[in-house]
Symmetry: C2
Subunit: 468 residues, 2 copies
């Protein structure tokens, strides 16, 4: 990363945090030179970059000012109050019905769980794969494959290390995507009938896995911006014999919420007091908006009780099916589960990703992708403010590529889903995101598009349908 880019990112963070509020003047070139000991050209390049990103503007003979970006006119949803009892889950039929009718590749994918595959360096991955597979020693294909390729585990451990976490390669098990990691984690910790805490709303796949494993769900109140409500969680832990929590402290699906570092620390401490393991689903962790990668809850774990699950499917290599779990004290149990469930993860996928990571291109790719997603989020919020019915509320995601939309209460999301599909657009109706289907006038919308004009057009058309 070049110096002017670093400087621009720091300024962008200050703007985002409100330290430099709309209308504020940025440090003059002379001030910046003195304070930061950077050259005038670095400052100019940085400001020009911020200007091109729509964050600041130049007033001739006066300086650079933070744009008076009119905030979207929509309100944010409030924290939902979930049911307090635990319940068995029976959502799969509905999920399959909705996903099944959204499968047509011709649909504009506002309902998709994946960002556009065009956002990824697919050709570079393919190039990285070729020499790896041709230079492979045959024994590498049938060796000790269950935990995963050693080179890849070293690379992942290194990424943890550079973001301030200590994770040994030996603690890592490579899995067939994060989905398998989460499955193995739950199976290593729970028995059928056990109670598992989920956020409210939560990702429907978590509900499906609980259903498959015959586990009971308790949902915990979750703030659309700050994530899990710790008072609500404390109450749940008092009332129920909870065996595990499956939470997404970072860029939660569907809310896009991010728990502040102190909240994550308090969360880990609270769970340690109850000796309840935390399955931390962090598949969107690399897709933060802002300058620094926030630390996952795993960073605050001193007892090995956090199983940190992630993957490359949302950040680098969709379809390669490479995820992992850093399983703390459960590492050996997970390795055994993995051996019995699927023996090992595909070697070609692992080698391609390990080789790509070696080239060092990952961070450059991620910087571009994050900027794109953040721009798309702003554009999507503007479209929703403009085209969706009065009374619509929408989240302000802190990262990732989802918006959670609360429509006026008389609108049924399943009805919207059906009408949208007829009009060539998929959406994810809120019914899917809770065991009791309480979010019946909500939608999850995916703004991870490659073409932001297509995104805007789709939202305008969807808004038209909603206002009928």
């Amino acid at each position: 990363m070049k110096l002017y880019e670093t400087y621009a990112d720091e300024m962008a963070d200050l703007i985002r945090q409100g330290v430099l509020p709309p209308g504020a003047r940025l440090p003059s070139v002379r001030q910046a030179k003195l304070q930061r000991k950077v050259s005038a050209s670095t400052v100019f390049e940085a400001y020009s970059l911020l200007e091109s990103r729509g964050l600041i503007h130049c007033r001739p003979r006066s300086g650079y000012y933070v744009n008076l970006r009119k905030g979207p006119q929509t309100l944010e949803p409030r924290t939902a109050a979930p049911a307090t009892e635990s319940r068995p889950v029976a959502i799969s039929d509905l999920v399959f019905e909705v996903l099944g009718s959204s499968r047509d590749v011709g649909l504009v994918p506002l309902g998709s769980a994946f960002p556009s595959p065009k956002l990824f360096p697919l050709d570079k991955l393919a190039k990285a794969l070729t020499p790896q597979m041709r230079g492979l020693a045959p024994a590498q294909l049938t060796g000790h494959l269950t935990a995963g390729d050693e080179q890849l585990r070293r690379q992942i451990a290194l990424r943890y290390g550079t973001s301030g976490l200590r994770v040994e390669p030996g603690e890592l098990v490579i899995t067939n995507g994060a989905m398998e990691a989460l499955n193995l984690a739950l199976q290593a910790i729970t028995q059928p009938g056990d109670i598992v805490v989920l956020e409210s709303p939560t990702f429907y796949a978590a509900l499906q896995v609980l259903e498959r494993l015959k586990l009971r769900a308790v949902e915990v109140a979750t703030h659309p911006r700050a994530g899990v409500d710790l008072d609500s969680l404390a109450e749940v832990l008092r009332q129920h014999p909870v065996k595990a929590c499956w939470l997404m402290p970072q860029f939660q699906n569907p809310l896009g919420s991010l728990m502040p570092a102190e909240a994550k620390q308090a969360l880990v401490r609270m769970l340690a007091e109850h000796q309840v393991p935390l399955i931390e689903d962090d598949v969107y962790g690399e897709l933060y908006f802002g300058h620094h990668r926030p630390l996952p809850a795993k960073a605050f774990d001193t007892e090995g009780l956090v199983l940190h699950c992630s993957s490359f499917s949302k950040s680098l290599a969709p379809g390669y099916r490479v995820g992992w779990v850093a399983a703390g004290r459960f590492a050996q149990a997970i390795q055994r589960m993995k051996l019995m469930a699927s023996l090992a993860t595909a070697v070609p996928s692992q080698m391609a990703i390990a080789a790509y990571l070696e080239t060092g291109g990952f961070d450059r790719h991620l910087r571009q992708m994050r900027l794109r997603l953040e721009d798309n989020a702003s554009a999507a919020l503007r479209c929703i403010a403009k085209f969706f019915p009065k009374g619509t509320k929408v989240t302000r995601p802190q990262g990732g590529y989802f918006l959670w939309v609360e429509l006026p209460a008389h609108i049924d999301a399943l009805d919207v889903h059906r009408r949208a599909v007829s009009a060539g657009i998929s959406v994810a109706p809120g019914h899917l995101f809770s065991a009791d289907q309480r979010f019946h006038h909500h939608l999850r919308l995916n703004y991870g598009f490659h073409d932001s004009a297509e995104l805007a057009k789709a939202l305008q058309r969807l808004g038209g349908l909603l206002c009928l």
Copy 2:
């Protein structure tokens, strides 16, 4: 396949079946020309090939004769009589202990579950992969991936078709190796506590999966050459509320047994009467000895009750983790299970195999591999006859790459395992192959070596250890 190869294979079959017994004279060139309407040179080339394979020899001015191959001096083991009650399984700790201490890559892999990776066309697979991944449309990576790549499913359906089975691509679900296929099949059919029928002895991974899923095992008597004993199975079905059978009718692990076609048909009919699904583990199906691929039990299924599970891991592409299940009436249930368990199978692995299959090289590779394995089996039987203790019994495998060795009863297989590992050789002790660990003086030995001299040396050394 050239004409002379076809003719040679047909003669080899007749020799194997005893139609042409040791010492018998083969048809003269003139007879063959008349009977088969082939040219003299085709006959000469075929006989020369059989001679090079050690099956026949030429007596000057007399003709070609079947070699008086002295059969190995060892007896075959008898059908074991398993316990009649069902029992929960608790074998994983032992399996992990044994596998753990056999993990050193320096060990000669007589205990391995895989054939030597050097037996596979790895470079051709890697070459097939490159243009596929570079020409990939991004949407192929996040499309309808759960059931698997369409091109690959078509290729697999085609292989079923050419061996006389009708399987539609829509019935197939591509999985992360056969291990995942078998897991999903069991999960789609059973609930914790249910009773599942296994062979005796059976592959330890089947026991581990039953243990993981909290299922009860009943073992059924299995003949070392002809596979499942149907009288024994009928008795089990009378006595127990069986929910599923997990059987390997072809080249069973560890016995190498092959159920005759009529027995497979009777098996399928018997299970249909009880409406018990058959999970047919057919991962060694391509590794038959002889000229024709035997039909799996699935071929006799008219009710959709057979879930035929296989993979490319043992026949083409170890480490790629591509298996499948042709799931009959359970196809949709399996697809749902797959979505919840691991979402999809790695695309690069699927594309490499689909592209390789398109090239048509698979059958050529398999012919070479089968000949190699059959030669190795003969060599291994000779070594065992020569170097193992008096009283040792050993199977005559009909395909695959395992021998099942019954040592004199005073020898403890776990003790052998420990001493062998110290001497640089792994073995698979019989304890692992039954829920009640009854096979305590048995070993499973892998003859799937690339270097048959290495195989012979290892067996001689192992024999030395056993005779101490």
